[in-house]
Amino acid sequence: MTAIGLALRLARWGILGFSVLAFVSTLIQALGFYQVAGHNAADRLAFARSIDILASQFTVLLAPPVRPDTVGGYVQYRAYGGLAILFAVWAMASAAGAFRGDEERGLVEAALATGTGRARLVASRVVAFALGSFLAAMAAGAALMVGVWSGGETIAFRGVLEEAAVLAALAVCCYALTLLVVQFTSARAAAAVAGIVLLALFLDNSLSRTFSWLSTARWASPFRYYELSQPLVPGGTFDGRATLILVGGALVASVVGAVAFGLRDVGSPLVRPLLRDRPPSYESSRVTWWRIPVLRGLYEHRLGIAAWTAGVAALAAVMVSMTKSIVQPLLDIPALARFFGSFVHGAVFASFLGFFWFTTAQLLLTAFAIVQVARWSADDSEGRLGEALSQPVSRAGVVIERTAALTVGVAIIAVVSAAAVGYASRAQGIDLDTTRLVEASMLLVPFTLVFAGVGALLAAWNPRAAVGLLGGIAFGSYLATQVGPFFRWPDWALDLSPFKLFGNPMSDGVDGRNLALMLLLALVCFGASILAIQRRDVGA
């Protein structure tokens, strides 16, 4: 019990944060349903049709909705679809942090030194995460019940409980898979490798909805078993067998992970290549990049930038290649073809691709900005900022150099992804406006700088809280574009969201006012971060 209590204590901020996030996002969707779905059967059926059409664009991410004319079906799709992804990311970050990050910080050694066995340590962390994820899932359930109550309707508590159980089961399964994977990686690569594995399992399931040849492999994806339950939908189902498979998978992965943990040295992967014998070197690196401001930052993180660039470009190419196979079946339906014709002027494929790809690119580059801010915070807590400031550079100089390196890094990602979209669309026979593609891609740079600027300000103010707060702000600003118009939020409030300011440049072109606002926001935030970092004690 002590070990579980300690594990819960270590994870308390994550549990609290994700509980709040789950509660708020679910409440907004539940309240939003009553704002937009109409109050009679005909209105709700019309609303459901529009949701079905919207959902068809996102089948690569989310399973199609079931009964979106009901609050249960709508929230199941709009809130829990996203929560499944969010909880998987949480599980991955928590497990990688608990089993490799804590090793780096010496916490695992300290725990083992108290006489706690390795298997017991693994079990306590898994159980603590299971409790935490169930609590966060129940927070989402509570929000749903509050939302439904505000609409004067009721929803079965059993369904809410079942949904919480299956969401927590998915999270624990992802946690256990991560804990297994990270036994075989270096501490540095743990989160990245686990992320790739979970992404592959996610895509295995979601792409199987588009590519039938993948359907034979989707049994391996935990997300498949999550989707088999739809307990919130009226007359919906709770697939007990699928949920048991998730729990069983978590158990097996935890046991195998614990065995692997028992076999390896603390701080090392299970399989570690021996150091090669070579003559020692006593020379400083002769690479010129290290001596040039900005370039040295890019060179230091060259592998990360290359991985991001390759990953974003590859995803862009995959999305382009899927465009026709997603859109064509919809165009074959006469009613939907008329519907598309009403808001898509000109090339349907190009408009769809513009919306579909750049929405994804915004989310990816938001994640990129959060990763950079996490690094800036770590620079502070791990002493690298102090070392940099013990050289003859000013604090403002450090912020400016970081910003410049980030700008160049984002520009590289944007340019290469634009090239990938352009090349793949030509190969697919989709006629894209090259000028607009370049403009829209370059608009990703100021978009990312807004989030990075907010993150720089947060990191200058309180580095330990920066990543969590920035994640919350990013989530909130995305949510604002989704639900703000329904709740008739004022324009100035929506204009604070970079997602709103980005707009849809492939269809509408780049809006000069919005671009200026993004640049202004970024400038103000970075400027404020320079002022804030002057006043703060380094490492405090």
Binding site: S281, E283, W290, R291, G383, R384, E387, L389, Q391
Partner: protein, 309 residues
């Protein structure tokens, strides 16, 4: 005053950093002369690292001022750091960067490190710079920190507990490196809680406790205020003047067992010798105190004792 300022490598005036709850640094008035090696002694949590972090501009003082070579540590922090080599108490984590890359990176920030110096230090510590930082042992990480502090031949070295993670052989190597830097004209400000280290290399010592500087002295001066441990053996037929000995100035912790008397003597031995002058003494042993014992006798008390100036 102006002359003193010009000669001072470090000068602080009523420098305070208040963290609340009585923690931090309070009213520090300190002058470190150019080209001297100054030891800054204190137990854990005394305020040594806080002083150093304020001098390096990492932490903002609550009040007071600090100057390095006449430059304000906060306002002129960039100019200050051109003259300073700094070893923090905790070596930063450089992850998967190689030692050679770390040196090039921070050397680049300085506009270049002296390659001869880099090679000389790396060789004498046998620090393989082709290895990744993550692969380094704790001692090797510390050696890299030392290399970063010394590589540009700074005028002032500010070193926060530099030898704590080094083995005795490498400690000796470090002391000789320090002596060479000093011979080349560098000033050294070195914090430590290891008194033998200070005895090895320092000209003067400042003792800090609970955030307050309680004493600055030459090493010799510090020995003059030392505590003597004295054992006296009296002849079998001698009458031991116990009351007179107890009343002698500076005599403490007196115990008498059979014919053998032990006590500690603070300051001069004269009062004790006067007290036993007329008695037949067969043996008298006075143990030279180490700096460590002086230090412990200071910090063994609830409050710092006032010392003769």
């Amino acid at each position: 005053m102006l002359r003193e300022m010009a000669a001072a490598a470090i000068r602080t005036s009523r420098l305070s950093k208040d963290y609340g709850l009585g923690r931090g640094l309070f009213d520090l008035d300190l002058t470190v002369r150019a080209q001297e090696v100054f030891g800054y002694l204190g137990p854990n949590g005394a305020g040594k690292s806080t002083t150093i972090r304020v001098l390096m501009g990492m932490a903002r003082p609550t009040s007071g001022s600090a100057f390095i070579f006449g430059l304000d540590c906060m306002r002129d922090s960039v100019a200050v750091k051109r003259k300073v080599g700094y070893l923090p108490g905790d070596v930063p984590q450089f992850g998967s960067l190689r030692g050679s890359e770390v040196v090039a990176y921070f050397g680049g920030m300085r506009g270049g490190a002296d390659p001869v110096m880099v090679r000389r230090i790396a060789e004498r510590f046998d620090l393989d710079l082709s290895r990744r930082f993550r692969e380094y042992s704790t001692g090797n990480k510390q050696k890299l920190g030392i290399l970063l502090a010394f590589m540009h031949r700074p005028d002032l070295l500010i070193l926060d507990e530099p030898t704590g993670r080094l083995d005795p052989l490498n400690q000796q190597e470090f002391y000789s490196l320090l002596n060479e830097a000093r011979a080349e004209g560098a000033t050294v400000f070195l914090s430590s809680h290891i008194l033998s280290e200070v005895e090895h290399v320092c000209d003067r010592v400042g003792i800090i406790r609970s955030g307050r500087l309680v004493r600055v002295a030459q090493l010799d001066e510090l020995r003059h205020i030392r505590v003597h441990r004295v054992e006296v053996e009296f002849a079998p037929d001698a009458t031991i003047p116990e009351a007179r000995i107890r009343a002698a100035a500076g005599v403490e912790d007196l115990t008498l067992s059979d014919r053998r008397l032990t006590c500690t003597v603070r300051g001069s031995m004269e009062p004790l010798l006067a007290a036993i002058r007329d008695v037949d003494v067969t043996d008298l042993v006075s143990t030279e105190p180490s700096l460590e014992e002086v230090f412990l006798s200071y910090y063994g008390e609830a409050k710092p004792k006032a010392l003769p100036s």
